[in-house]
Structure formats: C-alpha cells, structure tokens
Subunit: 239 residues, 4 copies
C-alpha cells in the first residue's frame, strides 16, 4: 500500500494565544486595587510583578492564572488523544471518523523510544530496547497498520458506513484536534504529563503524550515567561 | 487464537445511585422555604411535587437536578469510550492498557446493526446492510482483531512494554470504566446520545454509544421516574 | 458623609477578546477536514461559513463555540455578583473586602427601575412604582448605605479587621471583578440573564444583572456577529 | 424589633452521603483489574486498601476520589456564601431573596472571634480584640442589622419588590443552601478554607468559612476515614 505514512513524531502547533504575564497581574491586583488594576491590563509585566506571580504560584492562588487562553492544533496517535481528553478543563474539537474517511497515517516508535518497562503500576521506568525488540515492534506495527487500513478500504468500497469500518483501525492511527486551555489548566496538563526532576510529586507519563506536553510547555514558556518560571521553581504543580 | 471473545453488546451496570425525585424537590424548595425544605429530603416525592419538577424542567432551572449521583460500570469498545469521555461533566476511571495486559475481547457488529449510511455529516441515516456487506464486515473485523491480538502477544513475549505493544490494538477492543454523573449531566448525555422522535433537536449518535445511553436512561427512569418523565415530555433537553 | 457615591448603572468593559466567527469555523471543520481546517484559522468567516455556524447552533453542536475567550471588567452591586458567580463555566477575580478598604460606592435604583413585582416565583413581571414608592426606596437605600459605611469606618478606626467590619455593609455596595468566558458559556449567561421575546424558554432576570448581560451581549455581537445572529434566531439558547 | 435573631455559629448538616473508602478502591482497581474491581464496590475497605489510598493521595491520582457524593445543608452569613460559591466544582441551591421574604437572622461575632488582623494581604494573622473593640463591633453590627431589617420591612410594606428591598440588607444576614460535592472537590474546599499546621501550603481563611469547612471535614472523616487520614498525612492537598 503505497500511500501509507508512518510518523514517529507529534505536532503541537500554537494556533493562537491571548496570554501574557500581565494578565496574571491585573487579575491578582483587582483584589487589592479594584478598578485601578485595569492599568496592568495594558502594560507589560515588570520585575516587581514577578514577585507577585511567584507568590501566587507558591501559595496556590490559582484563579489569576485563568484569564488567558491558548489554542493548539495537535496531531498525535489516538492512544495519545485518549489520555489527553481525560483533562476536562479544556475545549476539544477533533477530526471525526464518522464524518470523513480517515487518512492512512500511523505512528511507529522511533529507534530512540525506550521499549522496556520496569517497576510496578504507577511508577514505571523505561529502558532501551534491544535491536531485536525494536525490529519486532517496527515490523508488527507496520504490518498491522497496513492490514488494518486495507481492511478499512475494503469495507468502504463495499459500501459500509465509515463509523463501522473504522473500528478495525488501530490505536496508533493519527488524529488531529484543536485544544483550547487557559494557563492554569495547561500547567495541570504539563504537571501530570511530563516527567521532571524538579517536580514536587512524580509523574510517569507515556512518552508520546509527554512529547505533546513538552511542546505545549515550550509555547507556554514563550508566551508567559514569568509564569512559566514560577511554575518551574515551585515544584511544577498547577496552582 | 482460541481464547478471543467477540461480543456485539455493551454492559452498563448501575453500581450505585443516590438519586431520588425528592432530591430535586428539596433543592428547588430551598429557594422559597430555606431550612423548611429539609423535610422534603426525607419524604418521597408526591404528585404535587411532580408539577414542580415539570416546571423546573420546562423553564430550564437546571441546578436542582444536580444533588444526586449515579455510578455506572460500563464495558464497551474503545470507539464508544472515545465519544463518552468527551462529556466533561462526569468522573471516569478506566481500565489501563499501561498497567495491565488487555484481554482479547472485541466488538463485532450483530446482524441487525445497520451498516449503510446515507445523508450528510451531522444528519446521517442508517439502513440495513446486505448479507454480503454483513459478511465482509464480520470477516474483516474478526481477522483484524485476531491478528492484532496475536501481534500484541508477540510483542509482550519479546519483553516490549504494554503501552507500546497495545498501540496495534484496534478501536473495537473492549475497555471498562466507572462513570459517575448527576442527573443533569446524565440527561445531557442521553439527549445527545440517543435518537428520539420526541426530541426538540435532532441527535445522530453512533448506534453503539446509543446502546450505552439507552441502558443509562433505563436506570435513570427507575431511580427518578418523575424527573425522567418530565425530561421526556419536554423535548428531552437537559435543563 | 461627603464622599459617598451613589450610582444606578453598571460597568461591563471588554478588557480583551480573542474571539472571531472564524474560530467557530476552524473548530467545526476539523471534524471533516483535519489539518486542512487550519486555513480557516487565519481567514475571515465568509457567507458560506454563516450557514455552518447556523447549523451548529440549531442542532446544538456546542464545542466549536469554545475556542475563543472574552475578558470583561465588571463593576456592579454585590447582589449582582452573587448571581453572576453562580455561573461556574467562567473565571473570576474580584476585589477583596479582606485585602483592602472598600470604597463607599452604592447602588440606588434609577427613577425608571420598575419597583413592583407581580406574579409568582419563577415568573415575575415588573411594573412601574409610584412616585411615593420611588421616594421611599431612594431614602431608605441612601440612609442605610450611609449609616453602614459610617459604621464600617468606625470599626476600622477602632482597629477592627476589615473582614469583620465589612459584614455590616449592604448588598448594594459596588464590587469589581474580571470575568473570563468563552462564547458558549457567555451565551448561557445571556440566555438566562436577559428577558427576550424571541427566547425559546422564558427568563426572568433581576434587572440589574440583565444590565450586565446586555452589555456583554453587545460586546459579543461586535466580536462574533455571525455567531450572535445565529444565537438570536435560534431561540437564544446556548448550544 | 423583637423578632430579630443574632447567631454566632454556622450550620453544616450532612443531608446525605454516598461515600465510602471502598469507592476509592474500586475506582482505582479498575485500571489494573477491569471488571474484577466490581467486587470492591460491595466490600468494606481493608487495611491493604489503605495502602492503595495513601499511594493515590501521595502521588496525586485524583480521579478515584470522585465516585462519591456528599450533600450538605449550610446556614451561614452571606459573606461566607460569597466565598463558598467561588468553588465551582460543586452544586448549589440557595434560598432566594427574590422568591421569598428573608428572615431576620444576622451574624454577630462571638466574644472569642479574633478581631484584629496583622500582616499583609494573603498572609494575615489574627489576634484577640480588646473588650472595647468587641463592644464596638457588637453594637455596630446589632444596630446596622436592626435598622436594615426595619428598612427592608418598610419597603415591603410599601409594596416594593423583594429583590429591590433586600439590597439594603447587610452581608451578615444568614442564608441557607444545599451544597453537593464529591470527596476530591471537598478536599479542595477543606484545603483552602482551613488553616492547619500540617498543611503543605498555607491557607488564611476567614474564620467564619473555616467554621463551615471544619464541620464538612468532620463529616468527611466519618464517612471516609482512610481517605481523610491519607489527606491529613499528605499535607492536606486535594489530589
């Protein structure tokens, strides 16, 4: 099947953000300043504001981190979206296997993907697979993907509804979706879906969702550098 | 592979409910009666209460329908859980393909499943498939399921992590989960995931999630008959 | 007390929005187009898109209306904020009576405020008050506000904590807050907090929160004219 | 005014709960056991389960704490409800000042209420007031409450709508409401609204909402002793 595409990466594009460190500042200052805080809405955050942001993060005053918004376009395998959509504080619209014919794009682990898990549920460590293990995975994944997509095509050609035919497609099929979140919710996603030495509590994400979360974190750090820095030094806990 | 199981049904067991029509009554009466409303918390809903419940439903006073709780245990194919978990006003805990070896239970459409879709996105109608279409679907689904599970087993035997091996498994694999919702949120699920003549706005659910929603509705109607009746006669819209 | 201010209006300033009709379009089109939908993210919504937006609104496909964000700065009496904050799908940060000395700004009904209610709970109609009724209200409200604020000042001067002293202040005291919502949630607020002939179900809001909701609706209609029009012609129900 | 009642306490009655430690266990075990976990739904939590609950709390696996429900009936001053209703992960129905004539029950601080605040916003400490301070507060609060209620009565007698007349009533007026939450959300309320030495991050709640939260915590500890203990030893952070 010539047109099948195998990818080992994910896409996490920032479609749009309305998110600045100063948003945190005006939202927090309203508690002590009322309408005077509006000035902060049109000014860039200053060094003095950084202290405020750190205080809010440390003492977990979370609501000032909600007055902003990030919209991402994500392409990832279905098993990643299965985890991502467990985060309920976000807005999702995803490609539909009922409304369109799904494209033959499948995930196959890259050579550097650690293939062997050690430890017990909730605290896995991952280690490099052998060359043989990599080859088994690579061959099995490619073969199943190709067969499944051919099966899908045969059913469509026979006039079977897309929503029925798609049920044979495997979890490594790519999907795509828009995801809109605010910084507070985004920090929760990053906190739970990245593994990090400085984290106050441990997370053991599947590597493929971590790849999405790392890209989200990069965009977050660029848009709200003070907020991201405060998150990072305070144990990477969403306030 | 002798141990593979094919199912064409779903399980939606009511694990527990704390949900009565009288819960709606005490929650609504507090607005006019304050603490006197507590009496309604220990009494069964009366015929007079039915009028109140209908009024609340009709004029969309939704919050009194939230002081109750249903916990379901659901077994269904992954493509159903993909849709179910888009409902964010609920609590979910699902079987994990990272923490356990997944069992070989797969969905295959029953003979009566309508296989042919007509119409355009957002307004499909489904029609019976031919015998030949049914046989194609049956054969393709069974073959892909068996091959995929064998592939999964070979990777596990080679020492590959469950979270990697499972990526070849198809969307018709069964999963299981606990789902906890209140009546207001449950009515929203039922409204969007059942197709019904009396509905004020049309829904076009995939048949397999409709099977889950129908079972949920049955349990809902048993626990809260007045509330369910009011929902049904008011266009089946969540208030 | 010379510095007391009486107001009869509310402020609802749009601090910032990231909200366009085209946001609805790209979010909806991803279901049928996948990544191709990204093009819609950078283009203005066209007449053809209007049909899509109307279809989504009519058939209550709500999620595409969530990928946008409005931040308002609201000044209103406390009794209005009491109602506004019952809307849980929003982010709030409000002026604090614990962190700052509250300013002596109080609400007093304008001459045109309808003072007499008829009908039963859940379906009130309001009629004009007499000149005498207006004068009674005006005098009582002004007297109680002045006395309460003087009391508040005496307690502060005696070294009593702000959080204790403020408990004598009446519900007509002004507060201020930032409120961030997306269009779907905003339509829910507008639907429940404005009274409108074209509405599919009746709402009976207190006039003062309706004043806030009307201003929000004005900003909403300016930012997303197609979406607002679709909301208006479809019974003013949040999808 | 003979019928005015002054109270210095709050009511937090447990109307109903469907909440057991074993709910956490079945919800968590589904991830590793699938349908076998159903057995845990009908068994009491064992000592071995305690280890699981502690692990979930410590590593912040929060969702298993959501499959349960508490409904409280709360009577407290309006300034307490103003704070309580900022918690969005809960269901509320409150007595209405539009639908009924409000009763003359007002909060006045007890002699032991600490009246003097020291420190800066976000980190206040409270110290005992002098006898003189207490007497000033007591007198001011009683006088303003009585005058305000008399004013309210005069307006009602003049035929003014309840929703207008009530605007002169002070924030120390009692209201009542039903509040339904699950344990995860309840732990968040308790975490933010009680001050505790063992807490991993500091909270500085107003004493009156802390009184509500302490009573909620008592009911929580009785219904789910293992879960409460795990919360308490893990820094009192909602998982």
């Amino acid at each position: 099947m010539s047109d099948i595409v195998f990818r080992s990466d994910v896409t996490t594009e920032l479609v749009r953000s309305a998110a600045h460190d100063s948003d945190v500042v005006f939202a927090a200052r309203v508690s002590t300043q009322g309408s005077t805080s509006l000035a902060a809405a049109t000014t860039e955050a200053s060094d003095r504001d950084q202290g405020l942001i750190r205080f809010l993060m440390r003492d977990r005053h979370g609501s000032p981190f909600e007055h902003n918004s990030f919209t991402f376009f994500v392409e990832a395998p279905i098993f990643v979206f299965r985890e991502l959509m467990r985060h309920r504080m976000a807005s999702y619209n995803e490609e539909s296997g009922r409304y369109r014919e799904l494209r033959p794009i499948f995930y196959v682990p890259a050579r550097e993907r650690r293939l062997v898990q050690k430890g017990k549920p909730g605290a896995y460590e991952f280690h490099e697979g052998t060359e043989e293990q990599f080859e088994i995975v690579d061959a099995e994944v490619r073969a199943r993907s190709e067969e499944a997509y051919a099966s899908y095509q045969r059913m469509l050609e026979a006039g079977v509804a897309r929503e029925v035919a798609r049920t044979v497609l495997p979890l490594n099929l790519y999907s795509s979706a828009y995801v809109t979140v605010n910084a507070r919710s985004l920090m929760n996603v990053i906190s739970l879906r990245t593994k990090h030495e400085g984290a106050a509590f441990p997370s053991f994400p599947q590597r493929e969702i971590e790849m999405v979360a790392e890209l989200m974190e990069k965009h977050f750090a660029e848009a709200m550098p003070m907020t991201h820095a405060a998150f990072d030094v305070n144990g990477r806990i969403a306030p």
